[in-house]
Structures are given as C-alpha cells and as structure tokens.
Homo-oligomer: 190 residues x 2
C-alpha cells in the first residue's frame, strides 16, 4: 500500500503500472500480480486502505465536538499542503475519482469511503447537538454534506487551477459553524 | 464545438480523438487538424467555449440579486440532470480537470473559467448588499467561494459515487442564503 501511494505520487494514476508500484517496494512485480491480478483490484484495495488512514489520522483525538469538527476540517483542507507529495497524491485521487463513472468497482469503494466520512461528520454534529453546543434545529446529514462538498470542491480547485481557495473555504465554514451551528453563535451577528 | 461536446459525451475525455470529434461533424479530420493541430489545443478552445455557454445559459435573466443567485445555483446543480448527456458531459469535464495538474494550458484556461464564474457570483452578492437585501457584514468573495466549492464538490460526488447529494447541498445553501446572507433571514432562527 505504501508502494502504491509512492508510485501514484510519482507517476499519477493514468501512468501507474504494477511494475512501477513493485519498483517502489522490495517485492517483485509477479508478487503484486499474484495478489491482485489487475491494477484495478489493487486500486480498489488502495481506496479501502485510504479509509483506514482517514480513521487513524484525520479525526482529532478530542471529546469536544466543536474542536473535533474544526480539527477534522483543518486536516482535510490543509493536510494537502504537507509538501509536494500530498498535492500529487490528491491529484492521483482526483484522477481515480474521474474514472469512477467508467468503473463500477472504483465507484462502489469511493461511495463506501464517502459514506463513511459523511457518517463520521454527521455523528460529530449529532454529538454537538446532544451536548447542547449545536442548535437542535439543524439537520446533521445536510450540514455534513455541505461541509464535505465544500472541502471536495476546494481540493479539486486547488489541484486544477492556479488559485488556492482553501483559506477562503475554511473562513466560510468557520462562519457557518459559528453562525448556524453553534448555539451562542448568533451573538456575533450584526 | 458542438461536435467536441458530442464526442466527449460519447467517448469520455481519455478516449476522445480528433477522428471521433470529426465523425460528429460534417467536416473531415484534416480540417480539425489544420485548425487546432492537437487535441490539447482543441480542448483549450472548448473549455473557453464553455465559459461563453455559462454566460448565455446559466445566469438567470432577472434584476433581483436573490432570485439571480438562487437561479444560478439551481442551474449549476441541476442542469446536470437534464438527461444522460449532461451527466456524461460533466464526467468528461471532471476528467479534463484531473488532467490540469499535468497540463499547463488546461490549468490556465480552467483557472480563467473558475475566476470568471467566481467574479459573477461575487458581483451578484455585491449587488444584493448594495440593494440592502444582503447583510453588509458578509464577505462577497468568501461567500462566492463556498457556494461554488460546494457545487463543485456535489457534482464530483454525483459523478463518482452512487449517491446524489445535490438536493442536500441545495438545501444547505438555501439555509446559508436565508440565515447568513439575507438581512431578514435571521427571523427564521430558533
């Protein structure tokens, strides 16, 4: 999986081959072919592996739902800036996503990842409502969807244009959290 | 340009060739080669052409900034549902976007398109502020960015997963417009 990550960063999705992935590991090409059969199967396993990484690395270790939500948004928006590798990795991910309409297996696994992440954000918002920090009126599912869509859009824009909108999106999400989600938030309003 | 549109919908970006584009028109392949040289040049021209379509078709013909903003969001989110062609077309666009990191010319033109669209939304919001319909406190640029990022993210998710989040994103944007943008909006709050 580490070799797949490195090969994707180096060559991009379209140009990556089993041979190039094997070259990043201490295994030979035939071992990869034996285990996975096709590049497609390996990629599906890799998308599944990314979800484990999401659970381990992206979700902040805190009990406070407000901190957890803000930390997760920061990790998702700015994790990408941890050097050149991350930008290239997200580029390969966008390529993989753009192949999903043509590839049932990719689409299935990407749907699973997206649904898991949406459920995670939804649960953080529900926790916030239960703890009396977020308004009871808000729809956790809809709120999770807008937050994640905005992050996805910001990432795609960062990768495919010369302008980085991450700071702008972070600022806008901050206002949404303070104004619309948090109970005491509307004190800020004019 | 119509032939390019049809060929992209039929074959996707990766598989489209000058020959396949010519086949959708009444011109021969050599005419396309003479005018554009490469598929890359034709695609850059096509991305530019899309921007003209955006100006003509996507921006609602109304003087009211609230109606204009809501209409534009609807067109961008749900225009895609006008049959199978639109979904396939946006799939090709996502492919094109995922190639932008590897292709300076694509990135340049996509940046121009994105900036134009952002400027359009920003100006609608500024009009709303001037007319006293939107709060003076809001940042038009930041608000435009979050709206467009959310729409981009929703489109990418609709294309690459089995779940359509457009309705959810539309609902969330509606709340943002009513609660955060519009002056009388906060009357709705609990």
């Amino acid at each position: 999986m580490k070799a797949t990550f490195q090969a994707l960063c180096k060559h991009g999705y379209a140009d990556v081959t089993m041979e190039k992935i094997a070259a990043e590991s201490d295994k030979c090409k035939s071992t990869f072919h034996y285990h996975y059969g096709t590049k497609e199967n390996l990629m599906v396993d890799f998308i599944r592996f990314l979800l484990e990484g999401f659970e381990e690395k992206m979700i902040p270790d805190t009990d406070d739902p407000v901190d957890k939500l803000n930390g997760l948004i920061d990790n998702m928006l700015f994790g990408i800036k941890d050097g050149d590798t991350h930008e290239r990795f997200h580029t390969a991910l966008l390529e993989l996503r753009s192949q999903a309409p043509y590839n049932e297996k990719y689409r299935e696994q990407i749907t699973k990842n997206d649904e898991f992440i949406r459920k995670t954000v939804k649960e953080i918002i529900e926790e916030g409502i239960e703890e009396g920090k977020f308004r009871e009126k808000i729809d956790p599912d809809r709120t999770a969807t807008i937050i994640l869509s905005a992050i996805d859009g910001a990432r795609a824009r960062q990768i495919s244009t010369d302008r980085d909108v991450s700071e702008n999106v972070r600022g806008a999400l901050d206002i949404i959290i303070k104004n619309d989600l948090m109970k005491e938030g509307d004190l800020d309003k004019e």
